[in-house]
Amino acid sequence: MSDLSIQKVVVANRGEIALRIIRAAKELGIRCVALYSEPDRDSLPVIMADEAYCIGPGPSARSYLNIANIISAALLSGADAIHPGYGFLAENSYFAEICSSHGIKFIGPNHEVMNNMADKAMAKQLMSEHGLSVIPGTRGIIQDTREAEAWVAEYGFPVMIKATAGGGGKGMRIAYDLDELISNVKFAQAEAEAAFGIPGVYLERYFPGARHIEVQILADEKGSAVQLGERDCSVQRGYQKLTEESPSPALDDNISTAIKNAALIAAKAAGYTNAGTIEFLVDSDGRFYFLEINARIQVEHPVTEFITGVDIVKAQFIIASGEPLPFDQKDVKMKGHSIECRICAEDPERNFAPSPGQISKLVFPGGPWVRTDSALYPGCHVPPYYDSIIAKVVVWGNDRDEAVARMIRALGEFIIEGISTNLKFQQRLIASPEFKEAKIFCDSDVLSLVFGRTD
């Protein structure tokens, strides 16, 4: 029996984040309804939940993205809230609206706020009006290469060409001069047309050596908001995050404070509620630019939990129940350093090809200040339909050196057999001198660094 207005929640997700949500709900006394696709029938979230409904076959479009089945199951179970996790329907404002029209609380911001923030141009405009620097870029889609040339004449090189329909690192190209600009704009338009059916591309200033910094926000529905510090997510491979940490090893205190304040301004400007992340790019001179708001719980939220002691998913339930945040900014004390490594079912030796299959042997890392968030268990199957993240190894240390040593130790004791994973790749990355010196950022050549070669 929960003290909150939410008594029963539908977990509209799978894998480690579904388990994470169930854990938070159980600690609050909230009953949990797992939804699952057919291949996930024997998964840990289904086992751990109080009840479970099958919502479709393996492919996401027919199960975890099947709004009708999800809403039906929520109504049948008598749940009063839905937690979408990340990915799938997490940032789908239409889904949020349907939940609300059925009297089910969507755990996240208001669907109108979601809608506004999903329009990147509108979001940038709003933040600019509130005094934040935003990434310089064209106002919207460029019609032709001449328009691109005109913009570059004013703002200069290098520039990034992005497809409006892209995202998650897909459909991005960089140009350093006019020749590259013209050929890449044409190429990007053709590529976007082929990949997404929408040829629209736009330009943004590109900052070599920039770091990817995001600030965790919690905002209640009474108008209070706190920030829980920044996360540095600069270690990426092809725009996919590999490891994240908090605090950033690269920001000085003044910049860190300024970014955190800017994030609070952004959250308030957007009318944001619940847990969310404000993303910034920080260039090599320490100037920072608003990028976007991620209106969801994020994969890397555990590093923030480790340094603040705040249970972000529990806070989501409290906020969604209409309660005020049980603490304010001065109660948030940051201590030590935390790092997360994403362990994925993929084969680094075969260009990170997905590697589904059955887990034959499994020993998680453990011991002090090591947290492994994963829905794997020995003998379980990793189905081919979903995101390849199968485990997150998160460590805490009194300082970054201790955290790095602990992560090396933890990855070293992780045994996972039956499928290929990026575990060894991550071990080499974390143990590299470049990582220890925090010299890896978004456009570093991580592959050559880890493999000692370019490919």
């Binding site: 057919e38 409904y53 099958c54 919502i55 479709g56 076959p57 199960s63 009708a68 089945n69 999800i70 809403i71 039906s72 199951a73 109504l75 049948l76 059925h102």
Partner: protein
């Protein structure tokens, strides 16, 4: 545990038994005992090439729920059920309704067959893939 919850559990176990070709299942919990037994004979789908004299189980097909929702046997509470045990259905004939998000979805049979068993009570919730009817194809 209420009887209705128990039924859903038992139906779940039965499905597991079918999926994994299990002949017997026994369960004992505080104050609850469940025993299930299945006929797993030579006509099991795992065995190939049994051929002509295969018993009638070979002709059985199961209609499962294509969506999550509430199962209704009749178009309205005061009307006759679409089909009843022993009756015959034709391809394309409506066998039940599943209400999902206030929409009544008519579920059709894809085969011609005789209704052997109706597995779900009227007005019960069903999940995706849950068996609704056993038919004997004709």
């Amino acid at each position: 545990m209420e009887l209705k919850d128990l039924r859903r559990e038992v139906s779940g176990f039965a499905r597991i038994m079918t999926s994994y070709d299990i002949a017997e299942l026994e369960l004992e919990m505080e104050g609850l005992t469940v025993r299930l037994r299945r006929e797993t004979d030579v006509s099991s789908p795992h065995k190939v090439g049994v051929g002509a004299e295969a018993p009638s189980e070979d002709n059985r097909i199961i209609i499962t729920a294509p969506m999550v929702g509430t199962f209704y046997r009749a178009p309205a509470p005061d009307e006759e059920p679409y089909i009843s045990a022993g009756g015959t259905v034709l391809p394309g004939q409506t066998v039940c309704i599943i209400e999902a998000m206030k929409i009544m979805n008519e579920i059709q049979s894809e085969v011609k067959g005789r209704v052997i068993e109706i597995l779900v009570e009227n007005a019960e919730p069903v999940e995706y893939g849950q068996p609704l009817f056993i038919l004997e194809t004709l």
